[in-house]
């Protein structure tokens, strides 16, 4: 019970940053593999593979981060029970997610400028 509550609180607080880490790792891995394997000229759905995949990673992780921020706010401590998220945790979840969004957007921006393995 305590461990489940712990996991849920820590999970919420860190969710934004974990999603940033996912975006970062995914983008880095895709570029490393695509460039090492000389696949940089391949097109996906009419777009070069690098901007397409980095853009997709950015959009998906941004959406997920937004969902986390909203979901945390919906848990109102109306009943005062301990299964609810304390107000502190809700606020922290929100501001962590907001900073993560900045990180994810910055991480995705290079896709607009560099599109090759050079």
């Amino acid at each position: 019970m305590d461990n489940a509550r712990f996991a849920s609180v820590i999970g919420y607080v860190l969710a934004g940053m974990i999603l940033w880490a996912v975006a970062f790792t995914a983008a880095y891995t895709v570029v490393a593999v695509v460039c090492a394997r000389r696949l940089g000229d391949v097109d996906v759905l009419g777009l070069p593979i690098l901007p397409f995949s980095i853009g997709a990673i950015t959009v998906v992780t941004l959406a997920a981060t937004g969902l986390v921020a909203v979901a945390a706010q919906r848990r109102r401590p109306s009943t005062g029970e301990e299964s609810e998220l304390p107000a502190f945790v809700r606020t922290l979840t929100l501001i962590v997610a907001l900073l993560a969004i900045v990180g994810i957007v910055w991480n995705g921006l290079p896709a607009l400028f560099f599109i090759t393995c050079a």
Binding site: W20, C35, L99
Partner: protein, 837 residues
């Protein structure tokens, strides 16, 4: 408001309590395990290494003061800069922060000790002995000389055939043990031993900072441990992880090193920032502005700092788009630092800052660290980095960040917390001299280095010709270094004159601070454990210090007759059980001595004595652990407020379970670094995975090994269920599981051997055998744990309710099986997924 224990405590009880917590006297003092003493020893040792590493820097500045100088030959100069960097990072900065945490955390969060006092002691002795051996290599000309980041191929056996590099690899590996041990203990301590009522939003910022510090260590250090292991194996057995001619890649070392190395910078900055967030509100006599934002900043720093490692590798020719991710993260990490700086400035503005010595050091920190941060943003830009790469500009930047970001806050902290640890506070007048000299000295030493760097002076040269425009600037830097050293010297004098360690008769709360550690009343921290209602308990709860010392809060005295503290729930800090803590014990020191012997003999390639000492260390661990897991030795006890708590806990609620899970996270990160290495080596070997002429073993054998692994886990789970039902089912099942586990691991290694694969032939063989060997090491540990558990069962020390030993073995066992299965999947599945043979 009624206090938890409002009645008067008896004199007899007071005396018994003090006796229980009295440290061992005379030569027996070396068996001490209590955090107050271990923490102070840790900090004192780290400060000693700081002075020694500083002396090495002075020698270098003497050499560089004038052009064409030959005061120190290049060989010694190489050793000096390598040892200066390595000692400052591994023997000073990280350990001093760990030591401060061991000293401060329990009293700050209302516990009487860390949750695993013997582990703290073992960590300290490992660090002390390992550090002394590492440092003394200088006096025998055996000190490492490949730079603090030890890049191969320079440090490979071909170009560094002597044992200097081994001193670094094995010495640092040994010291890393203490850092990881401290991190595990801090995580469990912060989450599980906070005073009742200290919910997440009331945790002191320093405690948050140490939580982030520990979290970063458990994700960053395993990469370094793996890197050092791989380089040492390459040097000793010629497994070519980093040798390009055999499919290795020296850049893999750089990835592993900097995946640790960059977070490391923040690993030492985050605790320093936590200290600043404790000191600023007290010096301004007002609560910290932006508590939540500062917590956000610490968490974000912890994450973003893992996205920076490649900015040390901008000049290695990676794709530009890859570098841009790291450039973006390098700029993103400036945001949380900025948030904290603004929170501190706002707090100073909201209150009235008293310009005491700690406040001066903090103002110095803000100035110097901000300058270092600005040059940090400059070198985060790839083109700018290329311009100044490997020049003195980088030396200037990193010293501004590290001295500003870590040394100044640490000195503020030493002056700030000294009255808590000593009979007398440190001197305000000497402190002002120290600050003035250190501030001016730091700027005079390092500011000119920006210019020498821009004028093209490379790092790590032992001399330079005159006439390049570097002469005057270097002389200024050397003069500044003398000033900086003089400032540190004043602090040493101040400590010698005024610091007299005493937990009981300390100078007390001379700053009118508001957090709980200032209520400390002896080696036990708290006579009774506080019921906390606010972030600044001493400010918010009038009379708290006196009430705590009079035993009016929770768990006054020692109902079980020994040392105790409270374990509380991780989020809401509700009291859960009474944790019985150990008293003085020789086992940690003995185990550390033998572990040190093991590593020392390995450095000299003396395998037989090394194994002997390794065996002795193992025996010492068993001696230590044999006495843990006492069971419910006492009836539940009344801690006050009508709360009755058990004195023993099992399962996922126990502090022991938490520590084991944290350890498994460390091992999981280690394994992930290994898989990264596997994929990296695949990437740099297109078309040769496995290399031509090497056949993948038939799928039947890994499938067999996987089935055997799973069967062993099932047996262990069954052994857990049978415990408490009597008979010998539990030990018998465990014994059978051991056989299966060993069989599975051995099958995997033998399969590759029989297929003709050899570890020294190429990087593919090396990484495949590394995966098998590391799994073998996990199996070895699991086997020892199982045999230990069997012995405990057979001697009646394990029962249905007394089962923490078995629970820990089971956790480790299941992890080992999962790691084994993942290894099989990657080694046999990945090349096939690529369409290999």
């Amino acid at each position: 408001v009624t206090l938890p224990n409002p009645t008067e405590r008896s004199q007899e009880e007071n005396e018994q309590f003090v006796t229980i917590w009295r440290p061992p006297q005379g030569w027996r003092f070396f068996s001490v395990v209590n955090n107050i003493f271990v923490g102070q020893l840790h900090v004192a040792t780290a400060l000693f290494f700081f002075l020694m590493a500083g002396l090495l820097a002075m020698l270098m500045r003497a050499q560089l003061a004038l052009p064409d100088s030959n005061l120190i030959g290049h060989d010694l100069f190489n050793q000096l800069f390598t040892m200066h960097g390595s000692m400052m990072m591994f023997l000073f900065a990280t350990p001093v922060m760990g030591g401060m945490a061991v000293y401060l955390l329990p009293s700050m969060q209302g516990a009487r000790d860390m949750p695993f006092p013997r582990l703290s002691a073992y960590g300290f002795w490992s660090y002390f002995i390992g550090g002394m051996i590492f440092f003394s290599s200088l006096f025998f000309g055996m000190a490492p000389d490949g730079g603090w980041f030890m890049y191969p191929p320079l440090t490979s056996i071909e170009f560094s055939p002597d044992i200097n590099a081994d001193f670094w690899l094995l010495g640092i590996a040994f010291i890393e043990i203490s850092v990881i041990a401290a991190a595990i203990e801090i995580i469990v301590g912060v989450f599980r031993t906070r005073a009742p009522g200290m919910t997440l939003d009331k945790i002191p910022i320093y405690t948050w900072a140490m939580l982030v510090f520990a979290g970063m260590i458990i994700f960053a250090f395993p990469a370094l441990v793996l890197g050092t292991l791989m380089l040492e194996i390459e040097r000793a057995f010629h497994w070519p992880f980093f040798i390009a001619a055999k499919g290795g890649d020296s850049l893999l070392w750089q990835h592993l090193f900097w995946f640790f190395g960059h977070p490391e910078v923040y690993i030492i900055f985050v605790p320093a920032a936590g200290m600043v967030s404790m000191i600023v509100p007290v010096m301004a006599q007002t609560p910290l502005i932006g508590y939540r934002l500062v917590v956000l900043a610490l968490i974000a720093t912890g994450f973003f700092s893992f996205g920076l490692w490649v900015h040390h590798m901008f000049a290695t020719g990676m794709p530009k788009v890859s570098m841009s991710f790291f450039s973006a993260a390098s700029m993103a990490v400036a945001i949380p630092s900025g948030i904290q700086v603004f929170a501190w400035i706002a707090t100073i503005a909201a209150g009235k800052l008293k310009l005491t010595v700690p406040a001066l050091f903090i103002l110095g920190f803000l100035f110097i660290f901000t300058l270092g941060g600005l040059t940090g943003v400059m070198v985060a830009m790839v083109p700018y980095d290329w311009q100044v790469h490997d020049t003195y500009f980088v030396v200037a930047h990193l010293h501004y960040v590290l001295i500003g970001g870590m040394v100044f806050p640490l000195f503020a902290a030493l002056y700030y917390w000294a009255p808590m640890a000593s009979r007398r506070p440190l001197s305000e007048s000497l402190g002002r001299w120290a600050f003035g000299l250190m501030f001016a000295g730091t700027n005079l030493t390092f500011f000119p280095m920006h210019l020498t760097g821009l004028l093209g002076m490379p790092r790590r040269v032992y001399t330079y010709p005159s006439g390049l425009g570097w002469d005057g600037l270097n002389l200024l830097s050397s003069a500044g270094a003398v000033m900086l050293a003089a400032g540190v010297g004043v602090v040493v004098i101040d400590f010698a004159r005024n610091f007299r360690s005493s937990a009981l008769h300390n100078a007390g709360n001379i700053w009118n601070a508001g957090t709980l550690e200032w209520a400390m009343g002896g080696a036990y921290s708290m006579r009774s454990i506080a019921r906390v209602t606010g972030r600044y308990a001493v400010w918010d709860q009038p009379g708290l210090t006196e009430d705590l010392r009079a035993g009016h809060h929770y768990l006054p005295a020692a109902p079980t007759g020994g040392r105790e503290t409270l374990v509380t729930s991780p989020i809401d800090a509700r009291p859960q059980y009474v944790l019985q803590l150990p008293s003085a014990d020789w086992a940690p020191l003995v185990a550390a001595l033998f572990t040190a012997g093991f590593f020392l003999f390995l450095i000299f390639k003396m395998v037989a004595p090394a194994l002997l000492f390794g065996g002795a260390a193992l025996a010492a661990f068993i001696w230590w652990l044999w006495r843990t897991d006492p069971g419910a030795t006492h009836d539940p006890v009344d801690i006050g407020d009508g709360i009755t708590l058990p004195v023993y806990a099992t399962g996922s609620g126990s502090h022991s379970w938490w520590a084991m899970v944290t350890l498994l996270v460390v091992l999981g990160t280690f394994f992930a670094s290994q898989m990264f290495s596997y994929l990296y080596l695949w990437m740099v070997n297109p078309g040769a995975w496995p290399p031509a002429g090497v056949a993948l073993p038939h799928l039947g054998t890994p499938a067999f090994a996987a089935a055997v692994y799973i069967a062993s886990s099932a047996l262990v789970a069954l052994a857990g269920r049978r415990l408490g039902h009597g008979g010998i089912a539990t030990p018998a099942l465990l014994a059978f599981a051991v056989v299966l586990l060993i069989a599975a691991a051995a099958t995997e290694i033998l399969t590759h051997w029989n297929s003709g694969l050899r570890p020294a032939a190429d990087s593919y063989g090396a990484i495949v055998y590394l995966t098998g060997s590391i799994q073998g090491a996990a199996v070895f540990v699991a086997t020892i744990m199982a045999l230990f558990t069997i012995a405990k069962h057979l001697t009646g020390r394990l029962a249905g309710t007394r089962r923490v030993t078995l629970d820990n073995t089971m956790l480790f066992w299941h992890y080992t099986v999962v790691q084994g299965l993942a290894g099989l999947l990657v080694v046999h599945g990945f090349p096939r997924a690529l369409g290999g043979p």
